[in-house]
Symmetry: C2
């Protein structure tokens, strides 16, 4: 079903309703988070669901993997069409161990989230939710990360479900192109539309909070706020979310800056390679 | 000096020899690693060096940030043109705290490495070395990650130094374009040339080693080997390294898959946004 080396994964599923898909679900807020429960409810409609999620919050873990300590996995639940495992690793560890050790066959789809908090703009680079989706894409699995712009534990995910159903259905039917994951962010409150948009440019302005422990040694807490470098742009994920729209951003795992390649070929480097 | 919103950072430094640059150095192998010492030796020639590096190995940390525990920083060394701090955080934490709390002004250049081990192909996504370089780029700082294809602690970095000098010199003189970091990988042994190349497609095939602890509970160690999806391609970083060449790959922090945007705009999603 996955054609690794073609430019496009052509995969028109004719009878969607007849097919039971194998779906891997993970997140970075832990297996008990309301966001992953909402996501499981929706994707259960499409087939057999295996959840492999961190045993607790793993926010900001990006594509991190665990190399210095052993991983432990525990089966939490097994019922018809749903098996749930918790793992002490990162979101990417969960994906790797899910595919390699826990599932009988490579899943048809990986969904990650629903994250409690936005993963738009540069946050895609720090996000454990998107790290997991990117890992799925590396393995040739169609992968989607879902996030809601609400950090609270009591966030309401109800209004996202019909959109998730539609997006998952489109991905299962049409497939994503090679090397591409989807980064889907939901605004809070009423949804005014759905838009396909690019990653906006910006950064997190760090404001470390410096404190002293009882022994008078100082330590820092990382905090900060988001600074948008292009507040006027209307084709970005940040703009979409500020205007009440669902932001769908396809992202690539090929980070090569192709245009820049041409530019730096003119540099003076002491020995010459093939392209000089 | 950094023009955030232009497409290209135009920065021709006329009298390189007269100028003393402020350079931030970090890595993911820890401040005591031979690789970072070799890197500091080279970049000291260009100005004032501030090292902010993890207190121990942080391999595979990608762009991870520390959000659940406080960061501690300790000054290890202060001599002319060189200040060294260790930090208990990730490579990205080191960059953030270096820029925000430890350096008087935003550095002119960030260099990360020299990593003990390759960071070519998809490894760029898991690499703490490259996570730190990407963080520098997000902050508008020209940033380069250096890696040597030798994981051993006794790796010899001597043969990389003249290349690092040339690459750093070119970056300081010409600047990198906006949103672009450099991923530089060195082969072991004799260097046959330098090539500007793209990130090759491949993945790590996981082979979890399952063991039992004394209490008979099972645990896993992550292990694996690299599988190249395009072993015939000659324009990739993997090819360059296998053929004894220095691989320079410019990477972008804009992960948007622009071509895929057009494709998925045709999907059926229940509500319509601006571009439907």
């Amino acid at each position: 079903m996955f054609i690794q080396n073609s430019q496009l994964i052509v995969r028109k599923v004719k009878n969607m309703a007849d097919k039971k898909f194998n779906i891997l679900v993970t997140n970075d807020d832990g297996y008990r988070a309301p966001g992953i429960r909402a996501l499981v409810e929706v994707v259960k409609e499409f087939g057999n669901v295996t959840v492999v999620a961190p045993d607790d919050s793993r926010s900001g873990m990006s594509n991190a993997i665990t190399v210095y300590s052993p991983l432990r996995v525990k089966k939490i639940k097994e019922e018809e069409n749903l098996t749930v495992y918790k793992c002490n690793g990162t979101p990417v560890d969960c994906v790797k161990i899910g595919i390699s050790e826990l599932m009988d066959e490579t899943p048809d789809l990986l969904v990650s989230g629903i994250n409690h908090g936005a993963n738009s703009s540069v946050s895609v680079l720090y996000s454990g939710t998107m790290g997991a989706a990117i890992e799925g894409t590396i393995h040739g699995i169609d992968s989607i990360g879902f996030s809601l712009c609400d950090y609270s534990k009591s966030a309401n995910f109800e209004h996202t479900k019909s959109y998730i159903r539609d997006i998952v259905s489109n991905v299962l039917e049409e497939g994503l192109s090679q090397n591409i994951s989807l980064n889907v962010n939901f605004p809070v409150g009423d949804i005014k539309g759905v838009t396909v948009c690019r990653q906006s440019r910006g950064k997190w302005m760090e404001e470390f909070e410096k404190r002293q422990d009882p022994a008078k040694r100082s330590y820092y807490w990382l905090t900060g706020y988001y600074q948008d470098f292009e507040p006027e742009a209307k084709d970005t994920d940040s703009y979409a979310l500020e205007n009440g729209m669902v932001a769908i951003t396809p992202i690539t795992i090929d980070m090569t800056a192709y245009k820049e390649m041409e530019r730096i070929k003119n540099w003076n480097i002491s020995l010459n390679g093939t392209n000089k």
